[in-house]
Symmetry: C2
Subunit: 339 residues, 2 copies
DNA sequence: CTGTTAGCGCCTTCAA
DNA sequence: TTGAAGGCGCTAACAG
């Protein structure tokens, strides 16, 4: 690796001269010197040693990101969006992954990242996460942004999608198609968005005076695809049956659609189906799935914006929650209520 | 941030004493001193400054990974696998992303990562990638591993799935079910795996003396889902029509299935369908998709293994290609040939 | 057993 | 307009 010193010696100049010309582009130097330095740097293939610069500047331009192995298929897209947003802000992403629910690993990873002097932390929270560690970080005013849906996180700076309006829009969409007998597979018990989604659902139903049938709401079990399929079968074999089923995420909806096909029912002629998240495959199933999208670019840049704000301030700022708006994607899995 | 010096002053010790106790666990020190140092470190919340250590050791324990925004939905899973494998090897992943085909960005990113003194580079190649930059890196013997399917990459150390045996297995699966009239949507023109996949297909077909019908092979157009759907419609409306269709990836297969449903044909009773990659949703479509899986954990650990080998050696080693074996996943989208 | 010192590569006063 | 020197936090000789 070529260093400033080597360039300086080669040109019989001082290191600080070379440093200033290359990095601060100080206009005080005469054009000739500047040109010589530039040429030498290019010729020797000089690359500034970022580790040394970090050392002396006390800043690494690195953001530590903790993700987890999510069953959610949109995870890849979100990561790329995150990396791009971080890059665009002049930082790099140091990414570590933990398996869902492993809090000891999470604490270790936080220490690892802090030891590496990251300028800020971006943590994707899971059902079980190391709240105590977040609190310690918060007390030290370490720049930090969380993403996720845990109720306990409301005291931290958090970015999450606007689940309430998303589910409201989706329910309205069904109501506008004439549906009134709507089932809802809530699934997960632990995430906070459950509350918001249900609230969006209730609000839309209430607006048109549609009644919510308790036996058409699945919200007590863990939200696995197998259970969603079973529930789907059960409600559709009863009488009367719902004319539309909402699923709290696309994967659950796919499982439901699979089951509906098995029952020999048609989508959307016999029953309308909608999911949530708009994973990439939602447009490739048959029929293509009506769902709600959370723009991952917007989500990522919001996270980075909130984090860089704190980094620039030199410390964490008062906690605030940001809701990223969602977008209804109406496709062919929903249609007019059967006559 | 607490430093060694602060601990040393607090205990009236030298910094090197503290350093050695904490990091090399030197057994020469007496138990009491060691305990005092340990306690103080814990009490003050000492975290070693990794930047400073990197500086002096000339090693960052960081691997630079360049990914790209892949339309492939398994990307997220691969990334997590990569991060975990890197972590398990005692490194951390500095991840950057480029949009597919943006070679200027790729060169900049390589420089950024090198400036950050990463110990090695792991690059996910795309159709267009900065081969010249790889060559420069290679000439400097920078530890580097590529992944991907470009023909031109054969001179670099590369990890990719064994496309030939994967497609061979898949074709055999159809042949064993009695199919002889098999269509094949190759799609992409540029990736090297195209050659291997076709070769696996041919080999299996030749073994049982099945004839390959040119009009049932789609390999001239770019591999978009729209074109795959159109091709599917065309071959199925002609007579005689194929009894099975192979798609070069799951997304194409989903598009094909969608089209087959539109035509009112049944899968697999009328036509069998198979994909490639085993994206997570392949098991959730109706019917679940027969496909070929590339284990992402194995893939990731192989990449890391090859890279760490070079890092430990201090420089790149002679180029070699590693093929990660694939696994046939037979589901319900394939069935016996119609009578 | 423990302390002192000399850097790692760079930036930033301060001095010339 | 340029150079010298100190120091970021740590490790690794080299002394004692």
């Amino acid at each position: 690796m070529v260093t400033l010193k080597q360039i300086a010696e080669e040109l019989h100049l001082g290191v600080s001269t070379v440093s200033r010309v290359l990095h601060s582009d100080d206009p005080r130097y005469n054009a000739e010197t500047r040109q010589r330095v530039r040429d030498a740097a290019r010729r020797l293939g000089y690359l500034p040693n970022h580790v040394a610069r970090s050392m002396v500047r006390g800043k690494t331009f690195t953001i530590g990101v903790i993700g987890y192995t999510s069953p959610d298929m949109a995870a890849g897209q979100r990561m790329h969006a995150m990396a791009s947003a971080i890059d665009a802000a002049g930082y790099k992403m140091l990414y570590v992954s933990r398996t869902a629910g492993d809090m000891d690993t999470e604490r270790r990873l936080i220490d690892d990242l802090m030891a590496r002097q990251v300028d800020g932390l971006l943590i994707g929270t899971d059902v079980y996460c190391a709240i105590d560690a977040y609190e310690a970080l918060s007390a030290r005013r370490v720049p930090m942004v969380l993403t996720g849906h845990l109720r306990e996180l409301s005291k931290f700076t958090l970015v999450r999608m606007n689940s309430e309006s998303g589910m409201y829009d989706l329910t309205r969409h069904l109501l506008d198609l004439g549906h009134r007998r709507i089932a809802y597979v809530v699934g997960s018990e632990v995430h906070f968005y459950r509350v918001h989604r249900i609230s969006g659902f209730r609000k839309a139903m209430a607006e048109v005076g549609a009644e919510i049938q308790p036996q058409w709401i699945m919200d007590q079990m863990p939200g696995r695809t197998g259970e969603a399929a079973l529930f789907t079968r059960t409600v559709l074999q009863a009488s009367p049956r719902p004319t539309a089923i909402l699923y709290n995420n696309d994967e659950l909806a796919f499982a439901g659609m699979q089951e509906i096909m098995r029952l020999g029912l048609r989508i959307p002629q016999d029953v309308s189906v909608a999911g949530f998240n708009d994973v990439q495959l939602a447009q490739l199933t048959w029929p293509p799935l009506t769902t709600v999208r959370q723009p991952s670019d917007e989500f990522a840049s919001k996270c980075v914006e909130l984090l860089v704000e704190q980094i620039d301030a030199g410390h964490a700022l008062p906690a605030r929650q940001v809701l990223v708006p969602t977008q209804l994607i109406a496709r062919q899995s929903t249609g007019p209520v059967p006559a």
